[in-house]
């Protein structure tokens, strides 16, 4: 082969691209190989139906690190995040709750269900932001080497960390407790109305195969709150032209720094000499060589696929196999002929521009989880919807709209086996639409096109093992020191010169770009390239 690279990154997901850009920024020659014909991985915009651009997988941007935006000059390269400030929760009796940036409006709206909750609500937000702020240094730096590898050491380390200096013991105890609690238990300590607890608890289960009453889901809640730590400067948002624009901006930045990106190149295996990685071979037999190989694919695909069990230590293989993927969510993207309606709302209401959460009460969510426990998709699933075309008309023809619906639960492992998703896909789509119809009467008749993604599709099309949206659950035992395996949480792997930079590495999934950045920085610091 003609060129030798300093580094080859497998996968042009947003993390792979970020890693490549940082390496190139430090003067390294980098090649990115992507198996699909387009870049972005789970951060993609696709015109599935003519004239309508769907953010096929991920749809809201909240965690993207500001430092990365600055370092890679992403605004210059097309990053444009429009805020998603409101949360709208319709209920079955035709009432609804709208929460947003106006504190007085929140108080008024929540007070219709509970005056006490209305009073507590701003205090809760403050407590979560405070916790989030303390966590910030953790998601912005590689995890330190711990002495003992148990989840409790994570919090020991936190306790010692400088960010917790000056914080009262009592405060710490009260708040760190949340780490092991369920989302519902944690929220119930704050609030009394299910109309608040229901919609708020779902952040604790997104992307996990856990119920809102499962221990540990309170932490996931916080993970989703971290997007708000910088207040007005980096709240939740939608990328202009769809989420794919985020990956595109990173790719443009990477290319401007000299990175070469090749699509339609599926890597079959990592080439090794002894215990060292030295290149990759594509399924078509082409070989590429480099001083270091980085994988942006998930840990299962990376270690059990690109490397192979036979080349790895048995213990490590066990750990990777134990690393829970078990996808639990699907996605339905709709092209709509007109704006959906909800009882009691006029079309000017900001509610339609909100994050629309269908999670009316605790039982509803528990029932949805029950189905999943027995290998069925939820007959009445939890849904998180957005209508980006209201803020960004460029994603749909004039007057038409796109609606993105994140759906849970859709277990990868159906009772009949994952391949049976081929037979159940449309029934799953029907369950979603039928449920939505109850909250937004008439939505069925507005649908011009329906695009259903099951966990099986997420695996087949986007290369996400078992359809897990975060390259492995963000549950407590799979974070920080344990991500993806004890002893290997610093992007380095048991294979020499082979690194992991995707969401399966610390600090985890979501459009955050932190694993990619931290991996590159760790490699550079270790003089690995």
């Amino acid at each position: 082969m003609a060129t030798t690279y300093d580094a080859i990154v497998v996968g042009a997901g947003h993390n792979g691209l970020t890693c490549a850009a940082y390496l190139a920024k430090a003067g390294r020659k980098v090649l990115v190989l992507e198996s699909r014909d387009s870049i972005g991985g789970a951060t993609a915009s696709e015109e599935i139906y003519p004239g309508f651009t769907f953010s096929t997988c991920s749809y809201v941007v909240s965690l993207l690190r500001p430092q990365i935006i600055r370092d890679l000059e992403l605004s210059k390269h097309g990053l444009e995040i429009m805020p998603l400030d409101w949360t709208f929760s319709p209920f079955e009796d035709g009432t609804s709750l709208l929460r947003g940036p106006d504190a007085e409006m929140n108080r008024r709206n929540i007070a219709r269900f509970s005056r006490k909750d209305a009073e507590r609500y701003p205090l809760f937000g403050q407590a979560m932001s405070e916790l989030g702020r303390m966590m910030k240094p953790i998601i912005e730096s590689p995890i330190p080497e711990p002495s003992k590898l148990t989840p409790s050491t994570i919090f020991e380390a936190l306790r010692l960390g400088k960010q917790f200096k000056g914080v009262g013991e009592e405060w710490l105890a009260a708040n760190l407790k949340m780490m092991t609690m369920s989302a519902v238990d944690f929220l119930s300590e704050w609030f009394e109305s299910e109309r608040l607890i229901g919609p708020m608890s779902v952040s604790g289960i997104i992307g996990t195969f856990l119920g809102i009453r499962s221990p540990g889901t309170a932490y996931v809640l916080l993970h989703h709150y971290m997007g708000e730590i910088d207040g007005a400067f980096r709240a939740w948002g939608l990328q202009k032209g769809g989420t794919g624009g985020v990956a595109m901006a990173i790719a443009r930045s990477a290319e401007s720094l000299g990175v070469e990106i090749k699509t339609g190149c599926r890597v079959d295996k990592v080439l090794m000499t002894g215990s060292e990685a030295r290149g990759v071979v594509l399924v078509n037999g082409d070989e590429y060589h480099a001083k270091a190989i980085v994988s942006g694919a998930d840990p299962h695909r990376t270690f059990l696929g690109l490397i192979g069990e036979d080349r790895l230590d048995e213990d490590f293989v066990k750990q990777i196999k134990r690393f829970k993927m078990r996808g639990s969510s699907g996605k339905v993207n709709l092209a709509l002929d007109s704006l959906p309606e909800f009882p009691g709302l006029d079309q000017e209401s900001p509610a339609l521009r909100a994050d629309i959460t269908i999670a009316p009460n605790i039982d509803f969510l528990e029932r949805a989880y029950d189905d999943a426990k027995y290998g069925r998709f939820s007959r009445e699933p939890f849904m998180d919807c957005v209508i980006p075309s209201l803020t960004d008309p460029s994603v749909a023809p004039p007057g038409k709209h796109v609606m993105s619906i994140f759906v849970q639960y859709a277990p990868y492992n159906l009772k009949e086996g994952p391949a049976d998703w081929e037979n159940q896909r449309e029934a799953f789509g029907d369950a979603v639409i039928n449920t939505l119809e109850r909250f937004s009467p008439g939505i069925k008749d507005r649908i011009l096109h329906r695009h259903v993604l099951t966990p099986w599709d997420l695996e087949k099309t986007y290369g996400l093992t078992e359809g897990n949206i975060f390259h492995g659950e963000l549950s407590l035992e799979q974070l920080a020191f344990m991500r993806p395996a004890a002893g290997w949480a610093r992007y380095k792997t048991p294979i020499e010169k082979f690194w992991l930079c995707g969401s399966g590495a610390h600090p985890g999934g979501g459009i955050m770009a932190a694993p990619g950045q931290l991996c590159a920085n760790t490699m550079l610091k270790a003089r690995a390239v």
Binding site: P66, I69, R70, D102, D230, G231, T391, G399
Partner: protein
Amino acid sequence: MEGISIQRAARSADLNHFALAGDARKRYILTPMPIRSPFHDRVARYCTSFAWKDWAGYYAASHFGETHLPEYWAFRESCAITDITPLFKYEVKGKDAARLLSRMTVRGFEKLPVGRVAYTCWCDANGKVIDDGTVSRLGEAHFFITAAEPTLSWMSRLSRGFEVELLDVSERTGALSLQGPTSRDVLKQCTDANLDALKFFQTTSAKLDGAGVQISRTGYSGDLGYELWCNAEDALKVWDALMTVGRDYGIEPAGIEALDMVRIEAGFIMLGVDYYSAPHVTIDARRSSPYEIGLDHCVKLDRDSFMGQEALRAEAARGAEWKLVGVEADWLELERLYESYSLPPGLAPAACRDSVPLYLDGKFVGQVTSTVWSPLLKRYICLASVKAQYAALGTKLKLEHTALYERKTVTATVVERPFFEPERKRTP
């Protein structure tokens, strides 16, 4: 603030003038409050915030909903519609119209083609800026002028000996600004104008739902956008037509707060904020020449005599004392400053018009006059006046900033202005 009080006095004197002139009289006398623009009925319907401001004696919406941010995003992602009727509007007609404007303002108008708009400013005899605005040539001997301050008396004083007719059309003309990437699509759906042929800073007359309108491709947002002028009687019709069509293109009524954010991103100055009108202030330190407020490109020195020419010629030779520049505050430093108080960065997500000093080595070297955290650019940007020797791109200064009671500073670098200038602003 001596500037402000004198401006107010001037304004009410001016209203009295109109009160004598006709039907404004009833309104003014019966309601000693801001008056209503011809769009008010519609604007008020959307203004659920009741957040009104006084703009040149008119009610102007600060923001319409809970916050101004959706309006800001409409400017940048879809289409924002703003009632700009409070601008002062004049027509100059007659054989000497071009000559008068060339005499009054800092550039010549004899060669401006019909259908073109020019941005300009006008000065007093000492070359200090009185106001800035646009001049459209509607016909060989017919011009249309916008201004932030009443200008009729100034124009008529200068017009002695010129064969011109001056008309104050401020009250009888309704004005709307339609700005943003889908603004052209909206207009295309409801007018007969050939908008693909209408270039940046051109103007055309058109029919909009049967009403005659003048459309110019201008605006205060630094983006693709248009300004529409119509008879006050047609105002509601025009508004309704735009809003009806606009719905499919994400149109949003937008207020002054959102407008202020985008105009700073676009690097545009504002009278009374980034500079003061020369006759309205009492000391020279508050007055500015065009060279000092970034309007160098407007000034055409070598032509027939015009107001302030000599002073400006001398200043051009000598070099201006002050310069208007773009400044960007170092975000990381700002974050650290807040962090030192255990606070997240606490900037308001709105434009700020307070002047704040800039230092170099502890010495005062200028002040920022307009500041905004740009949600689009993710930058904390300011317009500033600095002593000319500190105006070079890349110059690092210290900007005063108060995170918690104490006055501190953060690094602020002189950067290019405009901060935001999309291609679509100019492209066909």
